[in-house]
Each structure stands twice: as structure tokens, then as C-alpha cells.
Symmetry: C2
Subunit: 274 residues, 2 copies
């Protein structure tokens, strides 16, 4: 894998093995789609990073300084996926966080995966993952570095005709997908699962909540999802993607997903995704 990386602002591709990001997953990250010198969801990424820093008591870098580093790592790339990682830095051995942490920050540019316009048009096929997300309110919503649940869920399938995995909690409620948030249109109302017990509060989810009036954020049982008129996913990297199947249950791309795809284009995202 090739990537251009800055560590604490300096071109570098390694980090101390004593960093708490590695030792304990003690940190946060953001995955930002950038094209040219634009990242339409940047302010939402920075808001989530700040919220994560507040909740984990990790000082996070100023957005302007980070943006400067993003521009440096993407120089010469027409588009890229930029991962920003902020850890609590090096501390004494043991879980106790240092009283005066010196966070580490990593800004890494990856090639943008080739978008599949057919998926944006026809929709994704999802499996329902066997893994159930654990309820941990103090971490719910955050994009932190403890992501073994997502790794194990994504390891459940290799079939390339399955595009994403739907994640339920221990009570069987729909939470999100492995790398995107879920929306369903039920009785004419747009619904997205609450992420206060588990799951990630995606920046694309936040954009949909701001752009579409009256979205209900609430618990959503799998049976109820099955009854939806349409289902779609929201991802900071992949945008708005309709769902054509959840297991054996088939859906058609619907008008809300199409409207949100148009909104994504209006935000300035490239056209090729839909």
C-alpha cells in the first residue's frame, strides 16, 4: 500500500511503538474525501474530531493547521482519501492517561477508490453480519481507533457481490453498516438508527440529517427495515448509495436516495458517483 504521510507535520511514515494509539487504540480518526483542493464535509469532520477529543480528553489539532497538512499530502493528486489520525501520544506504560498528553497526528493520503457508477445507480447488496455491536454509550458515535468489531464484521464475507455488511446490536436493532450509516424510508418518513449506544455518527449521516427535513433518529428493528420503501447508505468517502438488497429482501432505489445524491452533487462532489 502506498500513501503519502505526515507525522506531526513532517514527512514520515512511522510512529513510535510506544504511542498509545498503537498500545490501546487510544485515539481518533477521520476519513475525508478530497478532490482538487476541496472537501465539502470538512467542517463536519472537524466537528466530530473535536467532539471525540472532548469526550476522550485528547487535545486535537486546529482545523486550519490540519487542512494545511491535508493540502500538503494531496499535492498533485486530482482526488484522494485522506485519513487523519490523532492519538494521545506516548505515555508511561499502563492505562492511566498522561496528565499532559502530547498527541500525535498522522495525515495520510490514499488514492481514491475507483467509483462504481453502477452501484450508485442500481444500489448495493448487503449481508446482515453475524457480529452484534456491543453497547458502550461512552464510546458510541465516536470514530475512535478501537475498531475490532468492524474488522471482524468485514471479515465475515469475501463474496465480491456483497458490497456492505449491516450491523445489528445485541437486541437485534439495526445500527449502521461496517463503513457507512443507514437510512430507511418507512411510511413516508426517513428514519436513521440512533447511535447513542453503539455505532459511528458519520459525517455523511450528519449532512443528510441537516439536508432532509424531519428525519427520525430512533431505534429501528430489522423487521421494520425490511418493510421500508427504500433503504440507502451514507458514507463520507462513497457518498449516497441506494441499497438493492439486505440478505434476501430486495429494494428499489427510491426518491429520497436520488434527492440526496443530487444534494451531494450540489455540495460539489464529483459527478461520477451517480
Amino acid at each position: 500500500m502506498t500513501a503519502r504521510t505526515l507525522v506531526d507535520g513532517v514527512p514520515c511514515d512511522t510512529l513510535s511503538v510506544l504511542d498509545r494509539g498503537l498500545s490501546y487504540g487510544d485515539g481518533l480518526f477521520e476519513t475525508v474525501r478530497v478532490f482538487g483542493d476541496r472537501a465539502p464535509l470538512w467542517s463536519r469532520h472537524m466537528a466530530r474530531l473535536a467532539e471525540g477529543g472532548r469526550r476522550l480528553a485528547i487535545p486535537v489539532p486546529a482545523p486550519d493547521a490540519l487542512w494545511h497538512e491535508v493540502l500538503a499530502v494531496i499535492a498533485g493528486m486530482a482526488e484522494a482519501v485522506v485519513r487523519i489520525t490523532v492519538t494521545r501520544g506516548i505515555g508511561q506504560r499502563g492505562y492511566a492517561p498522561p496528565g499532559e498528553p502530547v498527541p500525535a497526528r498522522i495525515v495520510a493520503a490514499f488514492p481514491m477508490p475507483t467509483p462504481d457508477s453502477r452501484l450508485a445507480a442500481e444500489g448495493l447488496r448487503l449481508r446482515v453480519c453475524d457480529l452484534r455491536l456491543a453497547a458502550q454509550p461512552v464510546l458510541a458515535g465516536l470514530k475512535h481507533l478501537n475498531r475490532l468489531e468492524q474488522v471482524l464484521a468485514r471479515a465475515e464475507w469475501n463474496d465480491p457481490s456483497i458490497h456492505e455488511g449491516l450491523l445489528l446490536d445485541a437486541e437485534g436493532r439495526v445500527v449502521c453498516a461496517t463503513m457507512s450509516n443507514v437510512f430507511a424510508v418507512i411510511g413516508g418518513t426517513v428514519v436513521t438508527p440512533s447511535v447513542v449506544r453503539c455505532g459511528v455518527a458519520g459525517v455523511a449521516r450528519a449532512e443528510v440529517l441537516a439536508a432532509w427535513q424531519g428525519v427520525q433518529v430512533r431505534d429501528l428493528a430489522l423487521d421494520e427495515l425490511h418493510s421500508a420503501q427504500e433503504v440507502f447508505l451514507a458514507s463520507s468517502v462513497r457518498g449516497i448509495l441506494p441499497v438493492q438488497a439486505v440478505g434476501d429482501k430486495v429494494f428499489a432505489p427510491g426518491p429520497v436516495a436520488r434527492a440526496m445524491q443530487r444534494h451531494w452533487r450540489a455540495l460539489g462532489f464529483p459527478l461520477e458517483l451517480a
Copy 2:
């Protein structure tokens, strides 16, 4: 913090920023107390690492090769705490684990913390942490790199007269402490909480289970712990330590803890801990 470190067998103190151990906490670790050229619980550490590798599908190094590296990093140290970290290595961006992972291994020697013989004699004072451990059976028992719960629990107190934090699950059952396992003597029977829903299956816990006949591994409510005749902790680094208080509830060091401390000495651990 100073530490002598080997990365993949070579003296080195950094790791790729693209390593999945950092990106997702996708890996395992062991914290081994070593003195001279001995580590009495070594085979238990290696058994747990192998079990973790099996459950997470991460190939783990052969114990003999690891032991060779342990001896290299502790050369010249009378005693040390050696942390062994095994990650899934570098992969493509995204949660999907590589089909043929090339794991990274880090072996790091830290100075052994000065043992406090008074604590071994008189016991530790514990707080009951506010944080509740989330139930995640697919990860329970493993010493994996997703340790934000422990970090946040340990961040709950700064008072040096509090020595450890007791962790409950969402239903209020006792699970373990932030860095040790818990045993209680209740009605004459030794009880330790099950760690099949959450918590770490410590190697010192495994040693107690092997050394003491008839330990009950089962659910343990906090009220029931309060009714115990004695309570003690087991840790691979700190050995067997009686508990003198859980919050306001006071205990006296009891005969089972003393017997287990004698057992620890018989295993060859240095005398100064009790």
C-alpha cells in the same frame, strides 16, 4: 519513557503508520513479568496469545522465537516487564483484513515498577468505576489492542490512595479490575467472574484456577462481592494482592490470598511482593 524494543526481531522503536494495529487496534498483546532469564507464566501467556490469534485469525509468532527476543530486550536487566504486541500488519485501507496477513511483532522491555510490599501485605483500595464494560462475546477474554474502556476507566481517578478500579458490566455484575482479575471467597468457596461476555482472561487468573481446587467461575453481583470473606486480585505483573477496600466496604487479607502468594513464590517469583 524509555524502553528497549525490537520490531520484527530488529532493534527499532517505530512502526509503519499504515499498520492495522494503529489504524484499528487490530492486534493482541501480552505483558510479561521477567526476572533474570525466567518468566514463570510464560506458557500461559503464549497459550492466550495463540488463542487470540486463532479467534482473530492473526498468525502469531512461535513461542521459542519470541522468547529469544524477550531475552534480547532484557539483556542486562535484573527484572523487567516485557510487552509483546502482535498486529495484523499493513493492509489496504479499509476494515477488510488482508487474505494473507504479514503480522508485525513488537517486543519491548520496560523497567519493573518498584513493588510495594505494604500493598502485598495489607491490600489494595479499589474504587468501583462508573464506566461499565460492554458485552462483546467475540472479543471477551482476549488481550486485544482495543482498550479504550480500560483507559477511560483508569482516567476516572487520580487519588494515589486508590490502587485499582473495579469494573462492572451493564447489568452491574463484577467483571474484573482495570489491569487485574478479581477473586472473592464467598461462603468458603473461591469465586471469580466469568469473562465470556467481557473482560480479560488474565494469565494470573488462569494460574489461580489451576492452583486452587474448586474455584467457581460464574456471574458475581457487586452485592455478593460485598459479602465476601476475602477479596484479592491476580495480575501477571503484580502477582497476588489482597483487597482491603472496595469503595466504603472493608476487607481483611485472608487465607486464600496468602496461600496464593505462597504459590507465587513457589513458582519462582521474587519474594519482595509479599
